[in-house]
Symmetry: C2
Subunit: 373 residues, 2 copies
């Protein structure tokens, strides 16, 4: 149908929110108001742990003191600092397999040995986790809700078991939870932080997926002693975060804009998720399996074992649809060789259908010779 | 004159700009305008190297392509990333002695061996530098203008010699230059970057001292290949910088606010520098020596050799004036034991006089027993 030159590229690679999710006018007004009100504070140097009123507001949501909240330029920055504080070179860190690729890069940089625990459509395999807990580990990194990259959610019963294990085995859990409020169907599940009363769980949250990623505001709740270490490392890494974005988010919350923002995000992304599921059924119904996320940005596509996703990805890109091979989401690329991560969050619904059609064509074109003949 | 309980503390510790330096109203309007104009871009994920229009504008100032400009959340962040890219554990890095203490922390964290080169009132001792260049080093870190912490400026003749040495010995120079435009007297000097035509010099600049530090926007100009490595490390550390501050600064520049801001900063800080020099002459004229900076935030106070600055600092703080002992600015605290860094940038002029009087009293009270009797 298309010649290469005529194809406008469609990308399912990166987890960007659809443009209509972004509350441009509200943030413009909030930024102005925040600078006018707090300028003498936020335009000067300040605390490495973040803008005090925002810390206090987030602390109130968790029911903790503000000294347990650490606000950063995005949650990846927080993970970088946490890895710097918690990981000695050679230490084991338990991760999901697959997991967020950038987390794997950070863990590799600090010399951690990332140990993957399988994920299925009920989320983290807690029995496999229990086996891996027989050796010491610096922490467990988990994304229990609408996981990046699988789109899966850890079930309530597994969450309960995970919370038990964390307590019994005294393993620190880093719960990365940016997608929780981007839910399209089903009921909200309690976080691991909530199930444990916060004991032994560091909870990472972000305004990236519910307000805007480019503003780079995220937070951790952690034990006060750990927050002090993170503040010290932040001060020796970037002095202090950028306060204008944090004060802008504070004003956004104070004005009560968050609920409308959540509705806008869900309404923008739900039809995209639906469009991708429908297109997959139509184009690949008999040739692949995929996750059916109830929220978030991503789904996971398992192709037949004889498909080499690393070989497929550049061919698909040449055919006008960009995807990420599944192996990128396993430590050392050790699995996921016939899988892809697809982000449905950004592309318009009609382009999602077209993109999946292109992908299906690329898969068919590359099928083993015997099957193609 | 004061009892402890009655004394409001005065701090010469941190290099904060005076509150009246901060262009609150202008930045409020620029933030609003920038988000309204660029919201769909800057509120989403974007390039790790920074907001494209700002990169292009800075590139035009240097006369280079935008791919040589790397914009970060403040210059310390850039130094952290540079150290991560350039330093193998155990590598030597040449620094000034004294130098910026946070730079020493960053170098220590990446396993560098920081080698101090003396600084005098003509700036970096280029003969000592030449001797140290007989062994390999990852780079030279220098703050040639209104140095932190000494307040000294490297003279034109030494800059020329340094530029020659850098070329002949192929040593990479990181020129940290945030204070250049905060000049009260004397003539602007060419940067090392300018003297070398940029060959072998990475130039670090910042909007912290000329617009506002809390907005956290700084830039490097570096070879394109190095910028690519920095972008890759930034993407795996914090994904992307916060774009709202960068677009706000871009709008601030576009509206032509910078000249007024520079005038405001100089007019706010010059009388503070003067007040501190006068107070030192009055209070310590026969008991100490100090640098006489032509700009910047700091000066350096050398007390008599029998004064222990680490013992003095907490006593001075108890007496109502906070200072930083000079040893903090040498690798391993190996020198500066009778010296202090004094920041005059923040405190009001009448409080500067009072703070120096308190400091002089603390010095006198702590003089060796024989002299005090």
């Amino acid at each position: 149908v298309h010649t290469l030159a005529a194809v406008a590229p469609i990308s399912f690679q990166r987890g960007l929110p659809a443009p209509e999710c972004l509350p441009v006018d509200e943030l413009a007004e909030c930024a102005r108001a925040a600078i006018l009100e707090h300028g003498r504070t936020i335009l000067n140097y300040g605390p490495a742990g973040g803008f005090a009123p925002l810390r206090e507001r987030i602390a109130a949501d968790y029911g903790v003191v503000a000294g347990r909240i650490f606000v950063t330029n995005g949650s990846l920055q927080a993970l970088s600092l946490l890895a710097g504080v918690l990981v000695e070179p050679g230490a084991r860190v338990l991760v999901e397999g697959p997991t967020y690729d950038r987390a794997l890069h950070i863990l590799a940089r600090v010399g951690a040995q990332a140990v993957p625990i399988p994920v299925d459509d009920e989320g983290l395999d807690v029995e496999a986790l229990e086996r891996e807990l027989s050796s010491p580990a610096a922490f467990l990194y988990t994304i229990p809700t609408f996981q990046n990259p699988s789109g899966n959610t850890t079930s309530l019963s597994r969450r309960r078991r995970l919370a038990e294990l964390a307590r019994e085995r005294r393993i620190l859990v880093l719960e990365d939870d940016p997608y929780r409020h981007v839910r399209f169907d089903g009921d909200d599940l309690p976080s691991l932080y909530e199930l444990t009363g916060g004991e032994g769980v560091v909870h990472s949250s972000s305004f990236s997926k519910i307000v805007a990623p480019g503003i780079r505001v995220a937070s951790l709740v952690a034990p006060e002693e750990l927050v002090k270490k993170l503040e010290a490392l932040a001060a020796q890494t970037y002095l202090a975060p950028s306060f204008v974005p944090q004060a802008t988010i504070f004003e956004f919350l104070r004005r009560g804009h968050l609920d409308a923002s959540l509705t806008r995000v869900r309404d923008a992304l739900r039809p995209r998720r639906d469009a991708m599921l429908e297109a997959l059924e139509r184009e690949l119904g008999d040739r692949a399996e995929w996750s059916r996320p109830q929220g978030g940005y991503f789904l996971w596509l398992d192709l037949r074992d004889d498909v080499d996703a690393r070989e497929l990805a550049p061919r698909a890109e040449a055919a006008g649809v960009a995807v990420i091979p599944g192996a990128d989401f396993f430590p050392g690329g050790g699995a996921g060789t016939s899988s892809l991560r697809l982000a449905y969050s950004f592309v318009a619904t009609d382009e999602i259908a077209e993109g999946v059609a292109r992908l299906a064509a690329a898969i068919a074109a590359g099928a083993p010779r015997a099957a193609a003949v």
